[in-house]
Point group: D2
Chain length 129, copies 4
């Protein structure tokens, strides 16, 4: 795979587009994304569904981890939910915690419109060299 592969992985992600994720800023080891909350993001008690939060975090992680052009696949991911989001906008910020030749570790923090943290996501990536 090459740099284009890493770029396409993110730029042509149809699921991210389908659920309305928007990348705000991407650089190697860091990404910022956001999601405007729509009715279709909600569960049966009108709270943003856990899967929508996870997908926002996972996509932000993938954007940061693939920014250097080496395809990075998720091995595993963990999410902790802190509180239901308030307002209509979610922001996710991905940061590299550690990176080796093959493996990298990221944390993603998700904030609501009041800048309250609503979830923490961590993931391990595997670089396909």
């Amino acid at each position: 795979m090459n740099k284009n592969a890493g770029d396409n992985l993110i730029a042509k992600d149809r699921f991210a587009e389908y659920i309305g994720l928007e990348l705000v800023h991407v650089q190697s080891g860091y990404a910022l994304a956001r999601m405007e909350i729509k009715d279709y993001h909600l569960n049966g008690v009108n709270v943003v569904q856990g899967g929508a939060l996870f997908t926002l975090a996972d996509y932000t992680f993938a954007a940061a981890a693939n920014a250097d052009g080496i395809v990075t696949l998720s091995i595993d991911a963990h999410i902790s939910y802190f509180k239901p989001p308030q307002g209509r906008l979610l922001t996710a910020e991905a940061r590299e915690i550690s990176a080796g030749r093959r493996l990298c570790h990221y944390q993603v923090d998700i904030f609501d419109e009041n800048r309250e943290q609503v979830a923490r996501f961590t993931a391990t990536g595997y670089k396909k060299r």
Copy 2:
């Protein structure tokens, strides 16, 4: 909250509907769901996006954990990805591993059309008594 709350949480989940999840069987402590893979589930390299797999697992867990009518919220969840799914249909099977008065633990196994396991999800739920 009451039994209807637990039922609505699942039955009226708009995100699950939006991404095409279908419950096949639900009973207390167990649920089976499936997702027919559509183009909008794919990432930029034509593999089902991790967020779609997670959402399928999380919804199946929620269906099983709320089946007794007591609203159960996710505290945290962990997913490990094993291999890219083959074929067009994913199946998820949620099973209670342990349950106390307040907390419960589930595992969800995701299989592709060839009955190969593609991911394992575990989650902790908190019962709102």
Copy 3:
């Protein structure tokens, strides 16, 4: 590294010896171990410390994952605690859930003397080929 490396990793593990872990059965992809509960395993409220449970699970996983002689390192691990153990003996059972060329996934279930499950551990290993 070679087969001896994989063997030594387990057989010469001083921490496992220090805290009293005993392998009962090991084969490729499966291991059974046990720990007789001593006073030094307890926390300040007389319950087996989480770190002791984790170490028992991690060592059982490592024994199973290294049984084929290829050195397998832990990438990450997750443990969920279900209930305080009763009695004086803990048993841990490690099973491979999935294995590829580089990565493998295991679950370890820990039981107390009454055969009640007290914890579930999952881990991802990386094979140093």
Copy 4:
């Protein structure tokens, strides 16, 4: 339970003492601990055993989470290993990420003697009110 229970949980932890953990600083929501690496902490290839790293992190988390005197039990914990530690001293720093009435979330970062981060631990606690 009362303040003394929370204090005893940490101060009288025999496993922490047995493996040589030392609390350096504790306040509500924060703790710093260290472990001088001894031969008995090593696995069969002379690297600090994962269970020893986990126990250091878990104890540091427990000290921070119990510092307000309300007994906090671990529900689950996740550890990612970044690199083998260098030198003879490990330091762990626990920080509250989020806390509600019943649940709290912590991260613990473990550093080696060169101040390189060797692992990241996250845990969810349940407050026994």
